[in-house]
């Protein structure tokens, strides 16, 4: 483990930024968001960014290819280019875990080269949580907020920033800032972890039960009567989907610029009424079906296909952002019998 004093943190950032693009949460007047670091920017102390860190690998829109059409002829232009290395600093445990989930989707065969390209060039530097919010429930999914994953894990104490590499990429990162950091023991970190864990236990959602959900539970929940009431006030907007670090549904669309056609990929939301609309019809016609799809996917379908791992990381963004305050916690409680016990 290595550390540097918070006073010299800027020097570390400067070093990193000189090397490759460095992104980190920076406070704005409307909360924290990831930003390319420039001298003068300060690492936000906010728990979570407005938008999740998935944008780095799965941006809201990205051009896939271009076409030139003339008469009856079509030319396909591969517009991909190899990305440059970049560092994402200050990723919280929940978001860090979300990358694993996105990986299972995008890196599984056939591998998505756009995603893979970005993923390979990124170094993820995570930051342990110390002041969780009442909306946090990552522990429910087995995530340790005090020891997030990623290539490098950091802990920020009152005076210092601690670094620990988790893999080769991480080691290379530590190596890069070796001059600016010093080797240290993990005592302060452990103290902080213990303290945070105490708080984590007190979280109102700490004892949310997941046992009833998971692998192969489709039949149990699919026709549950609760879906009707749960979905009744859902507006069908995409807020939960778009702030969610693990939602990865997309649409591929073409845009005719007048002098060529760009085929691009953009986020899509399974909550949208048009989501599954195709030439032959719409697979999920009612908001109930769409609402069910989103939560069944996180709680049942995804675990079924991925050894029981849930498709939610408990970051709490949807709890904070849903216009009508409907969210996965309420769904789990209503379906899982947590409610009113």
């Amino acid at each position: 483990m290595r550390k540097c004093s918070l006073n010299s943190l800027n020097a570390v950032f400067e070093k990193l930024a000189n090397d490759s693009a460095l992104y980190m949460p920076v406070d704005g007047d409307k909360g924290a968001d990831y930003k390319k670091w420039e001298m003068g920017d300060e690492l936000s102390s906010a728990l979570n960014t407005n938008r999740s860190a998935k944008d780095f690998f799965f941006p809201q829109t990205e051009n896939l290819m271009e076409f030139k059409v003339s008469g009856k002829e079509i030319e396909v232009i591969d517009t991909r280019d190899e990305k440059e290395d970049f560092v994402v600093f200050g990723v919280r445990a929940c978001d860090a875990k979300s990358f694993d989930i996105l990986d299972t989707v995008f890196l599984s065969e056939p591998c998505d080269s756009y995603y893979a390209n970005r993923r390979e060039h990124a170094t993820i530097v995570t930051l342990a949580c110390t002041r969780p919010s009442e909306t946090c429930f990552c522990n429910v999914f087995g995530i340790d907020a005090t020891k997030p994953t990623g290539d490098v894990t950091c802990w920020k104490t009152a005076d210092d920033m601690y670094f620990e590499a988790n893999n080769e990429k991480g080691k290379a990162f530590i190596e890069k800032i070796a001059d600016l950091t010093e080797e240290c023991d993990s005592k302060a970190v452990e103290e902080q972890q213990a303290k945070t864990k105490e708080i984590l236990k007190k979280l109102p959602l700490a004892d949310l039960k997941t046992e009833k959900f998971g692998k192969d539970k489709t039949a149990e929940f699919f026709d549950a009567p609760e879906w009707r009431e749960l979905s009744t006030s859902c507006l069908g907007c995409g807020t939960c989907t778009y702030v969610c670090p693990t939602c990865q549904c997309y649409d591929i669309k073409d845009y005719d610029t007048g002098h060529g056609v760009i085929r691009f990929r953009c986020w899509d939301s399974c909550m949208y009424s048009e989501f599954t609309k195709m030439a032959h019809g719409n697979n999920r016609l009612s908001q109930l079906e769409r609402f069910r799809q989103r939560f069944m996917h996180k709680l049942v379908y995804y675990p079924t296909n991925n050894d029981g791992v849930f498709g939610c990381v408990g970051c709490g963004r949807c709890l904070a952002k849903c216009p009508i305050s409907m969210n996965i916690v309420k769904v789990m409680k209503a379906l899982g019998g947590n409610d009113g016990e």
Binding site: K30, G31, D33, L47, N50, R51, Q60, T61, R131, P132, S133, E134, I199, K202, L203, P204, L205, E229, T232, S233, L235, G236, C237, G238, T239, T241, Y242, V243, D251, K253, Y255, F264, C266, W267, D268, S269, Y272, S273, E274, L319, K321, P323, I324, S325, M326, N327, V329, K330, K333
Partner: protein, 328 residues
């Protein structure tokens, strides 16, 4: 004025559902915390007693739910309307969006609703419990602190600039009715107007560039009730799902604001729900302000059946070229 209590609403709802006046009640349902209430439809008194809640966070405007709810089955729907909600209610009626006969509207007075983001900004995150005491909220957090904050300091933006305490529609009123208020809701618009063109552009570029096109503003808006939105319709020429260019941010918000111009009741839901905290109400309010300046005072939803300014005209209307300030 006596603050309306949750109990009195529950009592009223139960009474109306039990005496058969209504068959369903649209109300706020308890959440995980004290502030995350969910709009819900209650079908019986037991449910109401168990889960109905009304507190300083009962901000959600239910008017729009009436479209869907009145299309379902038999019986009337009970809806509780705060003064600002009645404007949306009226506007929807003006546009024939639901059957008035199928609704029983109970007007409830409102002293302003709290904005949880402001509460958190004031007392920090990790909130376990919020209780109301007089004009203060008492907030307990994870870390054992108990903080007090004045409700007046954490009011939602629309409540700070409340335009009216007067109910413009109801079947029954609980408590006393208020008056249309003088307010400063156009101050921020004016501030922007007084900036230079470049400053305004920079301001909006910065705000709108954060848009993630989640459609929350549209989907919550009581004026955006189109059976099919132009942004979902491939034939409209503006359909898009995601913002692939900064132009599309502007396109979406200009067109949306234009479509609700003269119909927007300034209920503030768009800004409330925006996950990116874009001050969308400033767009709609600009239109309201312009309409007031150009065509005389008009507030959508104040009078049922009133003719919206954009479907009206006089022979002496301002010329578009003059509508834009030519000095600077």
């Amino acid at each position: 004025m006596q603050k309306i209590t949750c109990e009195s609403l529950i009592e009223k709802a139960c009474e109306l559902i039990e005496n058969g006046t209504v068959s369903r009640v649209i109300g706020w349902k308890k959440g995980e915390f004290d502030y995350d209430l969910t709009p819900a439809v209650f079908a019986n008194a037991d449910e109401i007693k168990k889960n109905f809640i009304y507190n300083d966070f009962s901000g959600a405007n239910f008017s729009k739910y009436l479209i869907k709810e009145t299309r379902k089955g038999e019986g009337k729907v009970l809806v509780f309307l705060k003064p600002c909600d009645t404007y949306s209610f009226n506007q929807l009626l003006t546009e024939h969006r639901f059957d008035r006969e199928k609704v029983y509207a109970v007007g409830i007075p409102c002293e302003g609703m709290a904005d949880i983001a402001k509460v958190k900004a004031a007392v920090g995150d990790g909130i376990l419990k919020i209780t109301s005491e007089g004009d203060e909220l008492i907030v307990e957090n994870l870390y054992g602190d108990v903080n007090k904050v004045k409700l007046a300091d954490v009011l939602a933006e629309r409540c700070v600039n409340c335009k009216s305490k007067k109910h413009t529609a109801y079947d029954e009123l609980m408590g006393e009715d208020g008056e249309i208020l003088d307010n400063n809701r156009f101050d921020e618009v004016e501030k922007l107007e007084n900036m230079t063109e470049d400053e305004r552009f920079a301001f909006w570029q910065n705000e709108l560039s954060r848009c993630i096109r989640c459609n929350a503003c549209r989907d919550v808006c009581p004026a955006c009730t189109c059976e099919k939105c132009v942004f979902d319709n491939p034939k409209s020429g503006v359909e898009n799902k995601a913002i692939a260019d900064s132009f599309e941010e502007k396109m979406f918000h200009i067109i949306r604001a234009f479509h609700v111009a003269g119909r927007c009741t300034d209920c503030g839901e768009c800004s409330r729900v925006c996950p990116q905290n874009i001050p969308l109400h400033l767009l709609n309010r600009k239109f309201i302000k312009d309409i007031n300046t150009f065509y005389g005072e008009y507030q959508a939803g104040e009078v049922e059946g009133s003719r919206a300014p954009l479907v009206n005209y006089t022979e002496e209307d301002i010329e578009p070229n003059d509508a834009v300030k030519r000095e600077e």
